[in-house]
Amino acid sequence: MTPRILGTETEFGVAVKDAGVQDPVSNAILLVNSVAAVPSRTTLWDYENENPLVDARGFEVEGEKERPAPDYNRLLNKLLGNGGRLYVDGAHPEYATPECTRIADVVRYEKAGERIVEACRMGADRTSGDRRFVIYKNNTDGKGNSYGYHENYLVSRSVPFMRFATHLTPFFVTRQIFAGAGKVGAENRADSAPYQMSQRADFFEVLVDLNTMVKRPIINTRDEPHADPAKYRRLHVIVGDANMSEVTTYLKLGVTALVVSMIEEGYMVKEPKLADAVRSIKDVSRDLTLKQPIALDDGRQWTAVQVQEYYLETAHRYCAERGADPETKDILARWERVLRLLASDPSQLSREIDWVIKQDLLQSYIDRKGCDWDDPRVAMMDLQYHDLRPEKGLFATLDKGGYVDRLVDPNTIDEALTAPPTDTRAYFRGRCLQKFPDRVYAASWASILFDVGQAVVKRIPLNEPARGTKALVGALLDESDTVEALVSRLSA
């Protein structure tokens, strides 16, 4: 198996304790600009090749491309030494991990992002009065407003987009049984529920579309590869929840990456088609017993676990025939075990799977207080589960007390705050930013622009995400003491 390039983007929710003073956009700008350490505060984000208006189905929609003037660009964007990006997206602070190939690395960099954003909060509180902001890694305010968590998987352009759309739909509708972050209540005019598996399920209204903010689709068609467009697509997955549990994040990304590989290589052919995916995504989210069947388009009725088992069986065959690295084998084994427990006794996953961890905690609280699911304290706990403050966050409290499983060594999360992954172009980006902070005029996922003096900028394209690795450019970077030396050796 060739390594898959992948990464995630997390939009954070922001509460302001003295509400009404500032607007959400200025709050997000303040938070992002309170970042503790970045290589350079003047480097611009290079928007040159960005165009979120191109649809994978082969057309481009009307709309305005984002092209902020330099000063505003600097306010909105912070390029991180770890190769990731911290920025303002609409009215939310957002963090994108650097490009990774190992699933555990994405988990590490996503967790590092939580710490980076939490440090922003502390910085903002220091400069603007005491304890003003609270930041949540969740996806909804509980009142019908959702903000996203997006996964990105680089895939071959040679595979028709609709093949991914077809084969991923039943997978995404049922993936929430192990990937959901849990939510109290229902919203967006969906059927009422005391508690459901997914933060996001209520918000999906159509099957396939380019939109991400209104009428959200299960399959998003944004065709913006951030790489050589002749060779690659970037599957932009908007259907998932932001997770707190490392184990849940690992499973969600690892299993999805595996399914993407199976689709790419033509392994998915006869999987079940759902009669009504948009309806089923909400039904599955509400079925905490995991026993309710979903209608298939041929009249059969399968449970969500059965749908996942179909993908699992195919994955076993795929890995047996194509071989699997140790991480993929681990993911396969965990996926199998989790599905078995979901079918028999989901409560056994209360150390690993977010929606079960949260449900278990809230149920214990409800039992002690003798209150109900609609008690405001329960809604508060639902929100506070995602609070990034180590002393206040409920997931953080569970983690500290040893009530939940971890996946990665916390020390390696510390390293991921500043060190880029070594096996993608993020290595080149991160190292250049660190070594020549004043000379990187701008950068993006697919470019780096050096200031070579006399108002001249030298643009280095990074169109191959699997290049720019430590193995390929580590020595070159070590040996180049100046940007001039680096540029001339790169051009040689």
Partner: protein, 67 residues
């Protein structure tokens, strides 16, 4: 919540459920007590960290839609 549900959760939370599922001997009972204490401790901690005025706080938490 019934006692058995409570016990099940306690065992599950603290792990080593395979050893603890046999007939109750004094050691298991002792362990069960400790686990119950752990859950109580956790819920006490949560009472301490939970935002005050939960109803007001949750009501005021309104975000712009994102993405």
């Amino acid at each position: 919540m019934t006692m058995s549900q409570e016990k099940k959760r306690d065992l599950k939370k603290v792990g080593r459920r395979d050893e603890a599922s046999a007939s109750p001997n004094p050691e298991t009972v002792e362990k069960g007590k400790k686990m119950k204490e752990n859950i109580d401790k956790l819920l006490d901690e949560i009472d301490e960290v939970l935002e005050e005025n939960a109803e007001e706080f949750v009501k005021n938490y309104v975000q712009k839609g994102g993405e």
